[in-house]
Assembly symmetry: C2
Homo-oligomer: 328 residues x 2
DNA sequence: TTGAAAGCGCTAACAC
DNA sequence: GTGTTAGCGCTTTCAA
C-alpha cells in the first residue's frame, strides 16, 4: 500500500480510504491510485486490514455437515451473496455435536469474523456464553421457534410435521408412521416427528408411530425402516419421512415387496431433492427453502457490515412448501 | 496475551511460544500459562497472529460447487483433518468458471493462506500467473495427467472412461453411448467421455456416441438423455453416465418405457452415490475416492505448514474403484 | 479532500 | 528456558 501511495503521489491513508470508500476521494486521485494498483499488481492484505479494523471480512458458517444437501445449498447460496461483498466464508462442520460446535465457535471467534452463522437453535451453554460475551453478530438458520441468540432465519419444523400429518389424514390415511434417522442428534428431524404425531392425534385421534434409527439418513436406511414399520403397523397406509433419501428407500422397498404407492401406502418426504420429481412414483414432499435461507442470512450480514443494525434480533420465517406429486 | 502473561508472571513472548510449541516451555511455566488462560477466558487473535507470521492459519479451498456431492465429501473430509491442526477452511465456489476461479484465487491470496486448494488442472493463464508470482503452496485435486502447478491429488478421468468402456465391451455390449451434463464446463466429465469413446474404438472398433446437454447433472436430465440416446442409437445396449444422478434418471426412464436393465441395456454410473446400492436395479458404478482426496490433501498441507517440504510437486494417484452391481 | 501518527495483537530473531 | 525488541500491513481518529 505504501508503494501504491508513492506511485500515486498520495499518502497510504488516502489509498486505504479509496479502497474502502472510493467516493470519499477526489476522482483524479482515485484514478491515480487505480493506475498505481494495476501497475504494481497490488493485492491488499486482508489479514492486516482485519487486525487494524478489529473485525475481519470473514463470515464463519457452522453447519452439521456440508455433505447434507440441505446445508450445501444454503452454504453455496450464502457464499455467492457474501462473495459479492468481498466477505470470505469460513466453514466448520459440527457433525451434529454441540460440543464440536462450541469448539468451532471458539476458533471462529479467534478470527474476529464479521458474523457467525450457526445451524439451529440448540447450542451448548458454553456456546451461548462465549457468544454473549462478545458482540459478534450471530445468525441462526434452519430453525425457528426456540430461544434466539440474535438474528434467526428459518421455518418451523413442528409445522412441517403437522403439514405432513394433515395432508395424509386429509387423504383418508389412518395408520400412520414417521420414519427418521439420527433422531437423537438431529433435533429438527425430531421436531418434525413430534409435530407429525401431535397433529395426527389432534385432527383425528390417531396414534402415529415414530420409527427411528441412529444411522445416517440414507436410501438404504429407508428400505430398512419400511420393514420395521410394516412389523410395527401391519396395516400401515401413510408414511412421512424425515427426508427424501429415506422416502426414496421406502419407494424402492415398496417396489421390491410389491406394495403399491400410493395405492397401499402414501409416502411424503422432506427436502424435494433432485430425484423427487422423477422417481417412480414421483415423490410428494415438503420443500425447505435452503437457498432462500442462505440469501437472507447473507443479506442481514451484509446490512450489519454496512453499519445498518435494523435487522438485529430479527426473526425471519421463510416458510416451506408442500409439493404434491404421485406418492401421496 | 499481555494480560495472560502478567497473570502467569512470564513475558508475552513466552505465552506465544507456549501456544505454538508447548514442548519448548518448561512444564511449570506451561501450567501457569494454562491457568491464566482459563481464568481470563483468553481467546487468541489469529488475525494478529497471521499478520505477524506473514501466513495465516487459513486454507482456501475452491471447488466448482459444494452442492455437488463429490466436492462436498472432499471439503468435509479436508475440514475434519485441517480442523485438528487448527487450520481454518475458507470456501469459494467457482461454478465451473475459470474467470470466477481467478477472482477467488486473488481474494484468497489476500488472506495469506497456508495453502490454496483448487479443483482440477485447467485454470486461466491469470490464475497460473498470480499463483506462480507468490509462493503459497497449491494443491490441485480431483484430476491427474495435466500440467501441475504444485501438488496434485486425484485420479485419471481418462482411465475412468476407459474402464467403463472395457467393462461394457467385455460383457458383450456393442452399441454404446456416454451420457453427460455440462460437458463444456466440466472438463473432467468430458475427459471421461473421451476415454470411453477411445477405448471402445481401441478394444473392439466400436463407435460410441457422446450425448451431452448443457444443463446441470440431475436425475431428470438422465431421463431426457436416455430418450435422445434411443433416437441416436436405436439398438443401444450399453450406457455409461457422467454421474450417478444421470444413471438413476436412466434407470427410472427405462422402467417407465419397459426397457429391461441390464437385459436390454447395461448402465454404468460414476460416483457411487448414496442410492447406488439400493435402487432398482442396483447400480454398477465407478467410485471416486472423494474422502481420500480430502484427507490426502489435508495431509500434504499439514506437512507443509509444519515445515516439511517433501511433498512439494508430488503427484498422488488415488485411483478409483469399479463397483459391480446389477445394472451392468 | 488529504495526511500524520498511533496503534491493532501477535510472532520471531536474537540475546540472555 | 525465557525475555527484549522490532515489526507484520493495514485502519482510523484527528488535524490541516
Amino acid at each position: 500500500m505504501q508503494a501504491v501511495a508513492e506511485r500515486a503521489n498520495v499518502s497510504p491513508s488516502t489509498v486505504s480510504l479509496y479502497l474502502r470508500r472510493p467516493e470519499a476521494v477526489a476522482a483524479a486521485t482515485g484514478q491515480a491510485i487505480t493506475g498505481a494498483i494495476d501497475e504494481l499488481g497490488y493485492v491488499p492484505n486482508l489479514v492486516a486490514g482485519g487486525l487494524a479494523a478489529a473485525a475481519s471480512r470473514a463470515v464463519s458458517i457452522i453447519v452439521p455437515s456440508v455433505r447434507n444437501a440441505f446445508f450445501a445449498e444454503t452454504v453455496a447460496a450464502m457464499q455467492a451473496e457474501l462473495g459479492k461483498e468481498r466477505l470470505q466464508v469460513m466453514l466448520g462442520h459440527s457433525e451434529y455435536s454441540d460440543r464440536e460446535e462450541e469448539s468451532l465457535v471458539r476458533t471462529a471467534l479467534s478470527w474476529a469474523p464479521s458474523a457467525i452463522v450457526l445451524t439451529g437453535q440448540s447450542h451448548s451453554a458454553g456456546t451461548r456464553k462465549i457468544l454473549a460475551a462478545g458482540n459478534t453478530p450471530v445468525v441462526e438458520i434452519w430453525e425457528l421457534g426456540g430461544q434466539s441468540i440474535d438474528m434467526t432465519i428459518g421455518f418451523s419444523h413442528d409445522k412441517v410435521g403437522r403439514t405432513a400429518a394433515e395432508y395424509l389424514v386429509g387423504r383418508g390415511r389412518r395408520q400412520l408412521a414417521f420414519l427418521g434417522a439420527r433422531m437423537q442428534e438431529d433435533r429438527r428431524a425430531n421436531t418434525r416427528a413430534q409435530g407429525f404425531v401431535q397433529e395426527a392425534l389432534r385432527l383425528a385421534g390417531l396414534h402415529a408411530e415414530i420409527i427411528g434409527n441412529p444411522a445416517r439418513a440414507g436410501v438404504e436406511l429407508g428400505a430398512l425402516l419400511l420393514g420395521q414399520a410394516l412389523e410395527r403397523v401391519p396395516d400401515i397406509d401413510g408414511i412421512a419421512c424425515s427426508n427424501d433419501h429415506i422416502a426414496l428407500g421406502v419407494l424402492f422397498e415398496c417396489q421390491r415387496r410389491g406394495i403399491s404407492v400410493p395405492g397401499d401406502i402414501a409416502v411424503v418426504g422432506f427436502g424435494d431433492l433432485d430425484f423427487a420429481g422423477s422417481c417412480i412414483p414421483t415423490l410428494t414432499t415438503i420443500r425447505p427453502p435452503g437457498d432462500l435461507i442462505g440469501t437472507e442470512a447473507a443479506r442481514v450480514i451484509i446490512n450489519h457490515v454496512r453499519g445498518d443494525r435494523s435487522d438485529s434480533h430479527c426473526v425471519i420465517d421463510t416458510g416451506f412448501r408442500l409439493v404434491e406429486r404421485q406418492s401421496a
